[in-house]
Symmetry: C2
Amino acid sequence: MSADFAATPSPPYYAVIFSSLRAEGDDGYGDAARELFAEVSKIEGFLGVESIRGANGFGITTAYFADEAAILRWREDARHKVAQERGKTGWYSHYSVRIGRIERAYEGPEGR
Amino acid sequence: MSADFAATPSPPYYAVIFSSLRAEGDDGYGDAARELFAEVSKIEGFLGVESIRGANGFGITTAYFADEAAILRWREDARHKVAQERGKTGWYSHYSVRIGRIERAYEGPEGR
């Protein structure tokens, strides 16, 4: 099992699904993304994150939180707010955010 | 906006979040994956899918459905069942499935 997987507890918990298409050019994105992964991990109630971006610029990040209060803490985080603004004004040609309650989960393959 | 984004309706609806790390070798995976994307789109209640895999073999697929009944139809789909078995026995070194109810969603950037 790779470190790419989030080690989440048994449900219920909450997911923030962020899918995005990067705009051309780095524009400070790479450094900011690394900083944000460090920042979110400090949020009380943060459970884990999984993230991947393909060569075509399309990426999906799923961040997991214990409850809605933790999501709110992340939404109001100062560095995250700066990043949200950059996201709106340059980093992405499009993005989508979906927030939901994870009700069940399982992993596999068993025994491997 | 790219065709990579799923054009989902207003919440609530359901998400199946599938994250996986591919094992070495293709083993029929590429063809089967293409076939499965065609197959899931025929499921009554299927809303859309977003999927990306990175060069490191880690991938995230988020599939959206109108309700739990649609997820059940997909789980019981004959071709999907064959793929689930292949997934357990060879395609993935690890995978994680999380199922939840999307409660709110938004897109951006506005006006671009």
